[in-house]
Symmetry: D4
Subunit: 169 residues, 8 copies
């Protein structure tokens, strides 16, 4: 699919089932991406290098997902001026509220584009990355509009089935 | 400054002191923007039109700020495939946690790039918009890097003053 | 059962098991209602139209249920002066607190009558819709009073069984 | 203004500045209302009687506002099949989250139509009461539509002023 | 066991598995109690009567448990000057935080002695009732002291087993 | 006023303005009490001794108030079988939610009768202590009933003034 | 392994599966430790003695874990000037937020080094204890550095496997 | 005072009034420390270097304080095996809950010894640093014990004054 344009990085291999949702969306939109595991805490230099070198390798958007005191997206954002999208991941005692606050409450100067907690957030991270890349890619804009229309149509069809059969399935 | 590339929309005139922080940042980066007041609830058709027509008018990124059950960013995002950045605004009984959850917890399909609550979030919305636009504008990338270096230098200078005088001011 | 007087709208087909609780209650009270799936984010124009045209079709009360950054009730309320009842739906990482805040914290001007999170809220939405319609329907008022008496009697019977057998079952 | 159609009841005289917002809205819509102070805890029999006798006196909607462990709306709702609108009032250590949960999380069977915390909620309680009464009063429906249009116009004017002068005031 | 000295009241039969913990504790201490189901919302007059008449029937302490917008303890406390102990019950979307705030945040004038959420709280309600009754009953004080010593001894034995076998079971 | 029957203990002198509310209530009811400052953390042995020796000195109820990680009430309760009433005190970053959870979430075995956060809670602690002592003191029961009637009358008078003058003052 | 240098104390035998994580870590680092069950509430004198006598027995760091209104770490810290590490344990209705606030929000004067809720926190307590002891033990410092490098290498290997196979397992 | 043994680092000059509390405590204990401003986000390389080089310069404990999505302590802890103490700083919309979760909820492997939010936490960070250093410094242990005794005595004196004058001041 050509050179990766989106880097998806996650703090732990246990985050893969969540973050793959973003990769799938990007594949559907024909946007090449790469996935990496790199921890803000356990492999800090490698994470800093991954972020700092991303733009030079042709990466244009970074998606970072982590749980608990999720520092990954902020640490990545501190090393690059590429747009960084953060996905808070739940699962622990605080159900992801800790990861949400740790990702979204960035101080002035270093933004992280924060998504919803968990899989919905990872999916939306992929879509947002595509929306950003589409600013310079009319064909991708077209695919995004088609995706929106398909979503609207799917809602309509579900509703129609509910009206006619009283069932959705 | 040329055609506006960023649309900043807020739900109420009382949000202006917060959202102006984003406009100032964009002005510093030389990115032309326009500010609008339009409410998701009190002027829904106008808000939908503002969002739906933005891309056609040359807008490339939308920043939306609102408080309480902040629906503005989500309602705008539903009408466009442009990247939408959401700024939760505090001030009410729940100090902006309501606005944060209403902005960030978007269901799969329609992303809102959520910032921190309040002025820090509005500033970062401006910076993120510039980071997105810089993907197609090397000069803007240069200004963003200079801004980062200036921030790092400012921290260093503050620290130096603390070391030499024991005072910061 | 005649022309629907209550419109129950939900953001996703996965909300149906919750929102059906409201439909069942209305059926028990003999109030005709219709259920629709329409998303504030994925099918915004259709949702706006559904709300805006409801009064003209004879709908008198609207019940809207959604999860996460639940914008549905607020978006519907913005398009009609019919009473709109909101049901926050849980299930995600934040267990419905996000949906509760997004539904109840409406800014001044556009009220949403918010119920408890989940099935209890959906049931109460049906009852409240009946209470509103009963203002112009003495027979319905009678059925509501009978329902209250039956609830009180049921509590009494449960208590009596507990006293006599030490068991409730 | 004729027989009161809306009863506004509050748990304490300190709630009056908040709850008067609802009374003002009703006065603007020409809906006669009465205000009462009656506490769920300090004057329980009187509160129960006020609620139980309301319908017989011609009251059609009840608005109840209270703070902290706000039981007032629920206690009133238990005594009547009239629609009861609850306004959580902040100010204490928990800023009204306690009052919000105590008002909105009603168990199945007895709904309370819950509004936002504080003055915005009290205003919306008045508007919702008017929307409910308007189901049987086309002139009131007209006034509600005019109010909506005035709100939309006001947003538009504020926005126009921002465009032309860069100032809002 | 003689005339009941403690009334345990719960809002719903589904609360019985929790509230029985309190009854068991009281049985262990030889304090006669009675359990009742009576809802603040579904059977308000009966609940008020139960509370108001309790002292006259020889009841000396009331324990009230309820979930969600748990009004039961407050409603009972409003009708009697007997000490009222409240047990917040979890299980719903908010895991009992709603019931905790609704029970503990009583306004000045009408106290509710609030326990922890759920079974630990129900057990402690029984113990606190015994501690209150023991003020006038030296034999009960003796049983409470023995219970404390048994608890301390049990901790010590568990610790000893851990030291000697490395296992606890 | 005779031998103190209630011991009010607080963790810090800064808690005095809150805890005095409880002392005032007890004075109004003619219940002799004593106030002590003793910290669970800064003077643990003294606090343990104060609690352990209270019953021997004729104390019958203990009220303990503290802020932040409020361990005082629990530490006191661990040393006595007297009823212990806990008052969570706010003022710090978490507004007393920390003190509330630290006071109320006691594990099974050692109850703390928890009141609302702050002054309302301290007042209610005094009232609850009086309610407990009144079980063996019919004259105190009489004063408590008179206090309740006075509260109900005061609400009624406030309401009457609102009806006749439209003002409360 | 020689004289225990770390005392791990927990409030209940049910906390063992969590707290053992800390013991395992210490065993891996070759730091001898002992585990004890002792409750702040059910065996307060024994807990105070355990803490007060620890330094005399050669203990250099104490780890204390408890759930709900977790007073254990604070009570231990009040009796010693050894560093005390607190582990909040979840599992109840509030998922450990209560234990977190009760452990971390210590008033000025008596610090508790608080870890994350649950097993991750218990593991980190063991690591922190080793880091503290390593200040006087260069060989332990070496083992800690090797542990860090192993963690970084493990992340790298997981990432490499993801790159080459697209699978992690 | 000799070579600094404690490094206090804060993310912004606005954190100085809070973090100075820790420096004052250390000065009182005769522990030499140095203060630095260095941001995890605005000067990431410098922060990493400061942490990585600390041990080599003779630093033995690091205290890190930051607000909002407080990554500073975690980022510092990732670069050193010295004990790192984290101080969450409040002041923003979420009052420091964001900083608390971002500091304390560290994943397994990299501990941060978290203190209370704000000034009390900064003071305790200084005390904990002294407690850690005292493990190898009997004279410092002596000063810590004297500090504890002084605190206990101060509580006793405050209490005595309250007993004799009824006033504290």
């Amino acid at each position: 699919m050509g050179n990766p344009q989106v880097l998806i990085v996650m703090g732990s291999e246990s985050d893969l089932p969540v973050m793959e949702e973003g990769a799938k969306v990007l594949a559907d939109f024909g946007v090449p991406c790469e996935l990496h595991i790199s921890s803000a805490h356990r492999s800090p230099q490698r994470t800093a290098a991954l972020a700092a070198e991303a733009a030079g390798r042709g990466i244009r958007v970074i998606i970072a997902g982590a749980g608990m005191a999720a520092h990954l997206a902020g640490v990545v954002a501190a090393e690059t001026v590429l747009p960084v999208i953060g996905v808070p991941i739940g699962g622990g005692a605080l159900n992801g509220v800790d990861a949400l606050y740790s990702t979204v409450q960035m101080p002035g100067g270093i933004p992280v584009a924060t998504m919803a907690i968990g899989k919905a957030g990872a999916r939306n991270a992929g879509i947002l990355a595509a929306q950003i890349l589409a600013l310079g890619d009319p064909a991708l804009t077209g695919r995004l509009k088609a995706f929106r229309e398909a979503m609207a149509r799917e809602v309509e069809e579900k509703d129609l089935r509910l009206q006619t059969t009283g069932k959705i399935g």
